[in-house]
Symmetry: D3
Subunit: 179 residues, 6 copies
């Protein structure tokens, strides 16, 4: 297995001006256009971590919070939160910035999963992540839970084998039982 790497080493930042062709007839950025930019940013993070070509395996649910307008700037930041055998979870945070008002507002957070491929296109081992800060350690732990949710949703893991999230769900249901 390759030597561990830090979260910092995989960080990637994109700044993009929203151009006319990125928008619908109300002048708002199309959601799919943003998902495309986010995919390119996350792919760079994954490749920085894996030193291999990386392809998108899945995207967790994304909620779009309010419109981004033509001529605004989209800021995307991505980093690998955790590596599994041949795959990596990449966390993305997106902001929109109004150049005149100089205001910056949070637009969404998303999780993309990438798989590293060798030159023949076969999945290949990636280095583990060594989280360095408390925040990175928190995300590292949550990444394992999100992965179980993904596998259950994809029908590739039975809920009974999803140890960590099953407990969370029982907790959540327990709280509502008293009602």
């Amino acid at each position: 297995m390759p030597a561990p790497k830090t979260v910092q080493q995989s960080t990637c930042v994109m700044n993009e001006i929203v151009l006319p062709n990125d928008t619908n007839s109300l002048g708002n950025m199309m959601g799919g256009r943003l998902l495309y930019l986010m995919d390119k940013c996350a792919a760079i993070s994954a490749q920085r971590h894996a030193n291999q070509v990386c392809v998108t395996a899945s995207v967790d649910s994304v909620e779009f919070q309010g419109p981004i307008r033509e001529a605004e700037v989209v800021i995307i930041e991505s980093q690998v939160t955790r590596a599994f055998t041949t795959s990596m979870e990449v966390e993305l945070n997106v902001w929109a910035e109004n150049p005149r008002a100089q205001t910056r507002r949070k637009c969404n957070r998303a999780y993309y999963t990438f798989v590293a491929l060798d030159e023949d296109g076969t999945p290949t081992a990636v280095p583990p992540i060594t989280p360095e800060t408390d925040e990175e350690r928190r995300r590292h732990e949550q990444a394992a839970k999100r992965r179980e949710v993904r596998l259950v949703l994809a029908g590739r893991l039975d809920l009974e084998d999803a140890a960590s999230i099953r407990e969370d769900m029982l907790d959540a249901l327990a709280k509502t039982d008293g009602d």
Copy 2:
């Protein structure tokens, strides 16, 4: 409230050739590029149903099943499964077709949610869906559950108020309790 419409009226089909700029260095279509095409297809379905400009509110998790190659044809089909007050769930199914081998394989299924906006950009009421076939009725019911999952995941609905999915989860957990 506008008069009900059928699922059929919102159907949209796209066929697209995968061009060099859609692919990574292994010649595989980038996931984000596919999410962009899917968003445009789903937006047309939503607009056919609402007769208004529609913007992407959220995308449910998407899993990419195997690579789509340069020069292959991507086929995307979308339709509104259910309408809520001002929003609609659009189901997307994606296939890839190899022109030489004439084989067609399923790539993924996804759910995008759109909100209809009037000319001032304010959310506006959309017609309800009248499902006509058994398959459409099944999807119509599941759409309500998926919406509760979305609201819970987005922190906008307490699990205790998510009546339908809470029951499903208790069922699922009950089955694993005997282990």
Copy 3:
């Protein structure tokens, strides 16, 4: 010669939103941009029929009937009407749809001719078309006439050898002779 195929097997549908960069300064879709989309749609039909890479050999005259506006949806349908030794005629029908008014209007009909190429780029035999409906049979017959017109126009067929269209022209001229 490969086994015959039906018209249905080659059908291709495209739905596309007209984006700002597709339009001129009056907000109307540029004719050349539409010809480009039609070419991609027709190429997919040709490839579905031939199971080979297909290249555009010629485009018959196209008349544009009225403007298509930014944010409208262009709908293109194509299908192979008849196959010749290594070439195919593809018929295209184009509509524009206004998402707010939900009106759909016919924009044009066009005929593109494609040639199938093998992996060395050499023209290669394609399956014949078996028309199944009366409408398909009518188009199948007319396709032979259109091909003769094309060859005469291209200076590759003498008018005297263009049996079917020569008769039509004599008919047309005969009608005007009495004037």
Copy 4:
């Protein structure tokens, strides 16, 4: 009616490198992509003549003579051959150039018809063309014939009223009658 202008005043030249996204999987430029470039070139010629926004009304049949390869240079030349009340015929000639071999070969000739629009989008009168050379005069005369063919093909002119081309057709048929 605006003052006459020369053919020279409407000439437009384009040189374009064929990029990967312009080509199919054999590395040949897609026909539709070339039709798009030709439309932009012809539109500039029409606008230079009319001093108005001009939109494509029709394209006469185009035959593609041999492939244009990725990295080759496409050279397009266009000029207005004749003006009618509110429309103009634009002739296009296309060559492909191989940068290494420094060879230039003719690819096709085409005729696009444009209509001039005023600021309200209404067709508006354009200046007549004053042909200056013998070649320009020849094209000017042929343009009138091509226009009649277009109108007959579009079903907007009876063959009996198409004075000039009817004669040509009778001539052509007469020649073959003796066989």
Copy 5:
């Protein structure tokens, strides 16, 4: 005059994957494509400083040091070094990164000048820059010299009035006089 701002406030970072359409037939990124990305990055820096729409006024000479390959990542960093009445100098540094080898090499440094425009398109005052580090102060001083060179080169300043650079030139010439 608006309140001063720091260099840091105008920093902008872009990471971009080199796609097939960005490259020539040897698979190297075209210089003009890089100049385009640099312009977008620098424009964001200028707008962050000015809180106005900013347009490119000039670009100083740029030297390209070695090819950037398809599928590599281009990293662009920009920041305002100094503000003049209505214009700003933006310094850009560009690196290329090979995802497999994880090597990063310097590609070029460049200086773009932008002018801030108000809503009527009229040049408008921008805040001065307060350099905070020694490095920022050094760049701030050199920016004034580069501006004089630009004005002399553009024929808008006599060499005799270009106080700072005239001295530098005399120094340089003096050193060579003894030879």
Copy 6:
């Protein structure tokens, strides 16, 4: 060394309509977008001269004189002014044309330097230029001076060895000495 060629043989002309995506939020063409078109035009000139793939080595300072508006036509003309061992200087002149007013105004002049590469990507000898007119001879001489300025600016030539420009600078300084 290959046989000499004329300036005329390398001439290249581009006409391009400014589309929405080429412009900023004031509807003015972005400087970087123009630099990209200029690079493609200059590359064709260089390749016509060298009959080899040519890559951009450097761009001299460019000043943008006034905005180019959406829907205007950009006209770019380029030609090789002088060839050095494996490199060529290409001069570019740019105009903008308003289609309604039919006015054409000069936008800028620029100098790009290209290097010819053989099939292995190694710099390779290019033919010398034989200037034919007085104007071409003047530009040919100035090209040598501009090259020395470039080499001095790039730190690859000592000012004392830049014979021609050192003299010019002493002249310029001498004139100001009397003040």
